[in-house]
Symmetry: C2
Subunit: 333 residues, 2 copies
């Protein structure tokens, strides 16, 4: 049997800060293929919040434990488990819910052993945002050194990863950020990560945004996690025949594109949902190993805020933007 687990549970969908509660879950049986993990850290991702709100397409039966990805240490293993042993550092594939708890018992294939020297906050957060960044650079168009991409929402973790992963491959990034006080500082930070260009939306309120590209090639891939005007700006930058991939809609505004971009500029619009890539687990493991090696080498960086599990509700408020713009909230168990 596992130790009892302290978990964030919700019994019905609704505003996350009111429907979630911390509760104790009784010990669970560990069968022969199971691995019991003592969780160390787990982030609060937008998808986790949407799932609690009930606005996500696939709903778990309720009550359920919140959270998706996370990292922990193997506490004990079932009799048939050979590849993992107590003390191993493992991350959890984020396909199913339930990472916001102190002990998790799950079938061994749901865990991936990682290098023990991995900084815990990167281990906790690698399998959603950085993997998304990596897949979006690889799955839609063939990018070669000297090519360029354009993205909005560049300050998000995914956005920061895109900048760094692109730079590592010799790909230029054009980045669009919101008009907010402190944008000069944000620009400087993104340039340090490897961005080639950073513009606020207002700076792009010009007749021909492409005149701002200088000697950077017209981007063949655009990435959109905002929608509305910020998506239109991405399309305006795209080269003839380019593709814009939508993976989020932070502004809650739709994507609007004029007919001539489709007909005369041959623009393609597609969507990305990490969940759809879940089937090839072997590749998923490779992507994670690649990204965590970069994190350990200091070549993949982004800011997070570690929060003690007891302060869960404060972290949730921050993750929901109720305390202004904050870094990614990572629960520390």
């Amino acid at each position: 049997m596992s130790p009892p687990s302290t978990a964030v549970v919700y019994d019905h969908h609704g505003p996350p800060d009111t429907v979630t509660r911390l509760t104790e879950i009784p010990p669970v049986k560990i069968t022969e293929n199971d691995v019991c993990v003592r969780m160390l850290a787990a982030p609060i991702n937008p998808a986790d919040i949407n799932k609690i709100e009930g606005v996500y397409p696939d709903r778990s039966p309720l009550p359920t434990v919140g959270g998706g990805e996370g990292v922990g240490i193997v506490h004990s293993v079932g009799s048939a488990v050979k590849a993992l042993s107590p003390g191993d550092l493992v991350i959890r594939f984020p396909y199913i819910q339930g990472s916001w708890q102190t002990y998790i018992v799950q079938e061994q294939s749901m865990w991936h052993k990682i290098d023990k020297s991995t900084p815990i906050e990167y281990a906790a957060t690698v399998s959603v945002n950085p993997v998304s960044a990596l897949r979006m650079l690889d799955e839609f168009v063939t990018l070669k050194p000297g090519d360029s991409i354009v993205q909005n929402g560049a300050t998000s973790i995914t956005g920061q990863c895109i900048i760094q992963l692109a730079r590592l491959r010799g790909i230029h990034s054009i980045n669009i950020i919101r008009d907010k006080p402190g944008s000069d500082e944000v620009k400087e930070r993104l340039m340090k990560l490897g961005a080639d260009k950073v513009f606020t939306e207002k700076e792009l309120d010009v007749k021909r945004v492409k005149n701002l590209l200088g000697d950077i090639s017209e981007p063949i891939l655009g990435l959109n996690c905002v929608g509305g005007n910020a998506a239109t700006l991405v399309v305006k930058f795209l080269k003839q025949g380019g593709t814009m991939v939508t993976y989020g809609g932070m502004s809650k505004e739709p994507v609007t594109v004029s007919t001539s971009y489709f007909i005369f500029k041959d623009i393609t619009l597609k969507g990305f949902w990490l969940q759809e890539w879940k089937l090839d687990q072997a590749k998923y493991r490779d992507w994670i190993d690649y990204l965590l090696a970069l994190a350990r080498a200091g070549k993949l960086k982004y800011e997070m805020e570690m929060v003690p599990f007891n302060d869960f509700h404060t972290a949730l408020e921050k993750a929901m933007g109720k305390q202004g713009s904050r870094g990614k909230q990572v629960l520390k168990f």
Copy 2:
């Protein structure tokens, strides 16, 4: 030398009914690979109008003769021309301008010989709208019998061709038309052509348009030539993973799609521009032969209005919609 030619010429871009004029063009030299054709008929297509207005991406040097596609009879041939002889019925590839005139001299590869029993109005109009319909059914998704497609602007010639070509392959069509007096009559006409479903936009102002599909499968291909709400309706019908192709924007409104369609429904948006398919001329010839065989067999039908060349300006007004909704205007020389 060719005979002198009477032509519709414009010297600068502007409103088509004011900048165009009928004029006589002096005889042209017929070199060894040229074919001189006495034109019989040529349609007024929207692209022809846009080119005169100067809103089309590729502009011919001015002054120029208007029009793109058309049909004629070979009048005389250059010394090296073997495949064509005087008296042959030929259609003109619509890549370059200049079909609105009584005699055209052009290199032999620009002409395609067709069966003399072909109704002249179909010969004149096959190479833009029907070819577009055929290519859009073939180039974007793999359709098999029992599959279905959804389109707006279903009453256009391209729309009517799509209905008939789909039906010939056992593919169901869901058709969206405008809310206008007489829509019941329009529905009946499209059903007779082979449409499975025809809805006015207002009829689709329901919570879940898919409930209206009955036993027809969810469409995997959508075709949009309208934009605005009519494009959104096409997207709403699409099956998970479906593709919408935009080939026109009659409403002059952009295409607006909410983020969740990209992420959770994995919708792809693409564009179609016939001009981009011009390079493989051998295939183009095959498509035309296939479509004209259908027209001769009465399996591909659409309505046109033949207008004497002298009434060009009236035909132009009608083609521009200044006399309400009219059939395709085809000039008869």
